[in-house]
Subunit: 348 residues, 2 copies
Amino acid sequence: MNGELIGDKVILGGEALKELYDTSYYGRPRGATLELSLTEASYLLERAKITIVLNQRSLSFAEFFKIASMRMENFELKYLVYKDLKERGYHIQPSTTDFRLYPRGKRPGETPAEDFVHVISERKPLPLTELIFFMETAENVRKGILLAVVDEESEVTYYEVKRAMMKGDMKPVDHVKEEALLLEDRVVIFDSKLAYFLYHNGFFGKLLEERLQLSLVESAYLLKKKIIEIVDRSGNALSLRKFTGTATKIEPTFKRKLDIYEDMRNKGMVVKTGFKFGSHFRVYKKAEPMKRLQHSEYLVHTIPDDHVFLLPEMSRAIRLAQSVRKQMVFAYIKNKKVKYIDIGRAKP
Amino acid sequence: MNGELIGDKVILGGEALKELYDTSYYGRPRGATLELSLTEASYLLERAKITIVLNQRSLSFAEFFKIASMRMENFELKYLVYKDLKERGYHIQPSTTDFRLYPRGKRPGETPAEDFVHVISERKPLPLTELIFFMETAENVRKGILLAVVDEESEVTYYEVKRAMMKGDMKPVDHVKEEALLLEDRVVIFDSKLAYFLYHNGFFGKLLEERLQLSLVESAYLLKKKIIEIVDRSGNALSLRKFTGTATKIEPTFKRKLDIYEDMRNKGMVVKTGFKFGSHFRVYKKAEPMKRLQHSEYLVHTIPDDHVFLLPEMSRAIRLAQSVRKQMVFAYIKNKKVKYIDIGRAKP
């Protein structure tokens, strides 16, 4: 079959409608002709299913590839992803969001597409706002999103992006109100009864012999809930505002971390530091007072609402979470509400 | 035994020389008395081995702890690390670099200390220059370094820092000189003979059907070695300078990546992208032409020579490398020479 390259489309005659469209779902019918996108045409040309002419001359694959890459932005990347998904046996169609992907084993017409596929180069920074826009667009038509990230060596990695449901079963701890001491950058409770109580009933802090070391967010949270009082080394009691001010000097993003910590604690989750995993928090859904915590389900990293993801960094965070069997969640605050996005490796 | 808190020392009488110094290696003799550092004193006080007086009054552990934290910078952190290493059964002594650590099972006097221990808070950024200074100071007296990083919840993670020896067994590829095409942000070789040759003999690029996709660093390296020529889509041949300029627009740190890539290739290593691991490169020591690459030994991340490590980020990189059984290496350029630092989790 022979097609003609016109602008960023390849137009084939009526016989293609039957052979390519009806049986294999390539292209879109335009009256008696079939119109292929450059990625579709390239795929069929490489497989020698079609020939393509321009100015009465048949194009080699290399010639077509070069011209296509000048006529369509990111053609090389899109073609890599198109081809990869085709070879995995999926039906995939061009769309305003790069591609629409059909569920495995399902054909267009039989079921609606399941995911929007967005093709991105590893090198292109991805603003959170853009990611949210992708997500909301897809949500509105009940589809998922797949980010197809193409690396330097043209390998494709897929990420699934969805909202995370954060919900745990931890009960709030009772009010006890005892004194805790603010040292340089951490808070210590020397009263061993309170230390045991907070540790075993709320999984707050770390027990060292008979005393409890609290992190800054834990301390601020307990202070806010009026469960502890905090005094500095000169014996002065600190208000929440004063303590938050001190903590912000030590850690500039303290306020955001505290708000997100509080939101998760309020939702019944146990939240501990995620330092060893390079994230702000590790988070447990299940917690039984007086028992040891088991496996944490999430790594949560807090980001500002104008955050721009660098994909190699995002990749590292997700890869690490996966290697320790946790879900990677990014948390941000929008209009005073905490939002959670779960980004995970997908294996289509 | 009773000691007196004077400044940032605790001074004990002659009987301590025998009981604490001779048998357990605490403190330093000063004439007929024994002088303990605040960390040593705190450890012995918590274990009720000594009492400590200030102004004729015996101090509780909580009182002593509070005073010590005002008299010594980072006292809480240092005490946590001191105690942790003691409890792991090590002999450890105060030093200008926080502590000196003796080999497991060895006592001071019996052998020299093996490592300098530097105590750092997770929150404190660590300049590369400072890390190099630590390393060179230790190298001069043939010791290793252990970074003891204390996280928010007072957990200690240890890192070993050393120079990495980068050396592989890959032979350079011969000159062939064929044409490659620069597309938007990658280079393609359509000549299938050259494609196979470069891929199978040098592990360059990624084979897609009959063509080879090269990354920007690979392309610049092959151009510099006069193994390929690069033309743009208008058919113009590009000089190395021109190509590097274009690549730098796409990737601002291109020049540094290229210099380090070249250095490793010159040392006989096979260097591929490390995107999936969030690093610049994954690196193989062993490579046999015409065979598949086996397991890569290193993840290499390039950093500027004025880099400042954020410890949670560093922790993430190292943790990830470890989870895929690779060593994490940071590479930088100093006085036109490429240097490699290997940072790994240590389990003392």
